[in-house]
Amino acid sequence: MAVKVIIPTPLRAYAGKQESVEVQAATVGEALAALTGKFAELKKHLYSDDGRLRSFVNVYVNDEDIRYLQKDQTAVREGDTISIVPSIAGGARD
């Protein structure tokens, strides 16, 4: 299944500066594995050393948080959009 993964601005530097990447996958886990397979540097920004998704990074399938679906086992369908949403802190100053 072809799914689109939207790369957030802070992580684009580690994903060939692309806004989104299309990958073939049946689950969210497979999609992220395909993504980090293409862009190895992205891996340490998405996963901690014990292989768990980092707690300041959330992953959505369409508009749903995968933590409330089946996490990385969440099935994806053709045309679904996966969003990686990291916390950003900017505001007042730089």
């Binding site: 300041f56 948080d65 802190a89 900017g90 505001g91 007042a92």
Partner: protein, 397 residues
Amino acid sequence: MATKTGIPAGPAMTKPGVTLSKEEVMRYSRHLIMPEVGMEGQLKIKQAKVLCIGTGGLGAPLGLYLAAAGVGRIGLVDFDVVDTTNLQRQVLFGTSDVGRPKTEAAAERLRNLNPDIRIDTFETQLTSANALELFKDYDIIVDGTDNFPTRYLVNDACVITGKPNVYGSIFRFEGQITVFGYPGGPCYRCLYPEPPPPGLVPSCAEGGVLGVLPGIVGTIQAAETLKLIIGKGEPLIGRLLLFDALAMKFRELKLRKNPECPVCGEHPTLTKLIDYAEFCGVRGEEGPTTVTNVPEITPKELKTRLDRGDDIYILDVREPHEYQICNINGHLIPLGELSKRVHELDSSREIVAHCKSGKRSAEAVEFLRGAGFRKISSLKGGILGWSDEVDPTVPKY
């Protein structure tokens, strides 16, 4: 909690006896003739008390619109002074305000905009020691800060005091907006239980912000604040609005209350404020070198050695767009590309790496030492230090 048609009651209840003067009726006439606000809504706005954390990029449009709308009492918390680099986006301030405390300059501007409202200024840093006391007098807290420790502090203090937190944050050309901490709704920790560990999120190399972005995000925060006050419309509770100014696209994601949230969950384990600098591992802005124990050379030493003809290879590890702003004729390899382009460097030559202020070059030196480079050091204070100590014609950014 909002439902499709339900609206949370505005935190400000209209007290009997509060009225608008003839001048106020004139000033707010475009609100008054609109049924969604009307006299009832305007009186709620007049009695509302909103605390703005940060009077920078987000706080500027927020403060202006809340003051213009007639929010009766606006608190401003900021410990900073106006800096020239703020003027690109912090539209509350003018060139003549450079060097003034932000709260003072902001209050003056807002009082000029609307003399009928009360502006409280707190020229202080929000801390675990003062947050609960500061929040006590306000109905709604608006988070326009720029760092993770303060964001977690604002969140926790809002949950503890039961006040909604109108949240906005920005990065380059992307923004996130939502309302946290509304009774029954999710909080910041439901979304992000923990902050990024220090050094993992790109900071200085990836920094910068499109000047108009905080204008858009702060204005959305102002709209959400006013909606909460008048109790109309569908607030951004349980919804995270993502905005991309380059693509000019808004997207919306569902936010759920995490039953296991340590602050607002069913069995909270965090019931009082903590040390947020420690919790976040003290990170945020580009500060002093975080990679320590790498060899350093001061700008003056480097200049002396270059002048006497020593063979020193200057390696600039900043980004190409930074090189365009100013450079000292270094060989440009951005830090992120160093591992792939290390073959461009000759380990037999003496190398001095530099960046903007010394953080990235320290990382570069650490990496290159690991790759077998021995005659390598980091320029202390970066090109900013060079500008300060050696060549003031090099512009600082």
